[in-house]
């Protein structure tokens, strides 16, 4: 998504990336970025919360008007109800390490089978 935004900017179209994966967007490097520190999936506001969605969209529009240089990141003030998702997402620990290794093997086996069918 950031790569598409960069291409538009190179061709004269102003853009704002709205997202929750701060490191991915900032490493890629975009003109304007509205960052909401939520679990991935709702970068434009909590589901069914039209007021929050309008506030975040309003901040993206503000950034279009006011940013004067690239890599401008604006972090919205919203917080998720709890912080448990931060540790839980894609967690690797001693409790699931063996299961993850098995899941990877299974996935590779199925992909190899699918390739053989092709």
């Amino acid at each position: 998504m950031s790569l598409v935004g960069r291409h538009l900017e190179e061709n004269g179209i102003a853009t704002v990336v709205m997202g929750s994966a701060r490191d991915v967007v900032e490493e890629c490097g975009v003109a304007r970025f509205v960052f909401t520190d939520f679990p991935l999936g709702n970068p434009c506001g909590r589901p069914r919360d039209a007021a929050m969605q309008a506030a975040i969209l309003g901040m993206a529009l503000d950034l279009l008007e006011r940013a004067w240089m690239p890599r401008t990141t604006l972090q919205t003030p919203f917080r998720w109800e709890s912080d448990s998702w931060r540790e839980a997402f894609m967690r690797v620990d001693e409790g699931n390490r063996a299961a993850l290794a098995r899941a990877g093997e299974e996935r590779r086996r199925r992909q190899a089978e699918a390739k053989a069918i092709e």
Partner: protein, 167 residues
């Protein structure tokens, strides 16, 4: 000061996904895009005169695979924003399916909210179509196919500025 930290508070998805896939036995980590130089286009006219477009990573169609699991169709598309989509498909994308859901399109593609801003006069207009660019792990395909296609659609639709929201 609210508290002290030994690690940054926001999640690093580059670190997290590398460790997760390594634990699954994928030894070669994904190489993320990094640029030192960043292009910047100023807004060409007052926002209240601008036509604003939207881009999403969600798909518009979904089919089922051989064992009946949902599989979103990874195609580039342009779809009418009015009427807005009642739902879009996100099952094949990288997002936190434990913590939240994507049943409300405006939580990841603010198509209704943008129409409200247009009606209120904050922007000139919302583009008649929004564009779908389901995430492609090939940066080459994104650069060479998706990005030029979105640019062409933006020009067809007379768009001045674009909001891109990735899941």
């Amino acid at each position: 000061m609210d508290r002290t930290l030994t690690h940054r508070s926001f999640v690093s998805y580059i670190d997290r996904s590398r460790e997760y896939y390594a634990a699954q036995g994928y030894e070669k980590p994904y190489a993320w895009a990094h640029h030192d130089a960043v292009p910047f286009a100023p807004l060409p006219k007052p926002l209240a005169a601008c036509r604003i477009g939207l881009v999403t990573t969600a798909a518009r169609t979904q089919r089922t695979d051989l064992i009946g699991a949902p599989l979103m169709l990874r195609e580039l598309y342009a779809q009418t924003a009015d009427p807005p989509p009642a739902r879009l498909y996100t099952d094949g994308l990288f997002w936190d399916k434990e913590a939240t859901h994507t049943d409300d399109v405006d939580s990841f593609l603010p198509v209704n909210r943008l129409a409200e801003f247009a009606a209120a006069g904050r922007i000139g207009s919302a583009a008649r179509r929004f564009y779908g660019v389901p995430t492609d792990y090939s940066q080459g395909r994104t650069r060479e196919k998706a990005a030029p296609q979105v640019l062409a659609w933006c020009r067809e639709d007379g768009i001045d500025a674009v909001l891109l929201a990735g899941l």
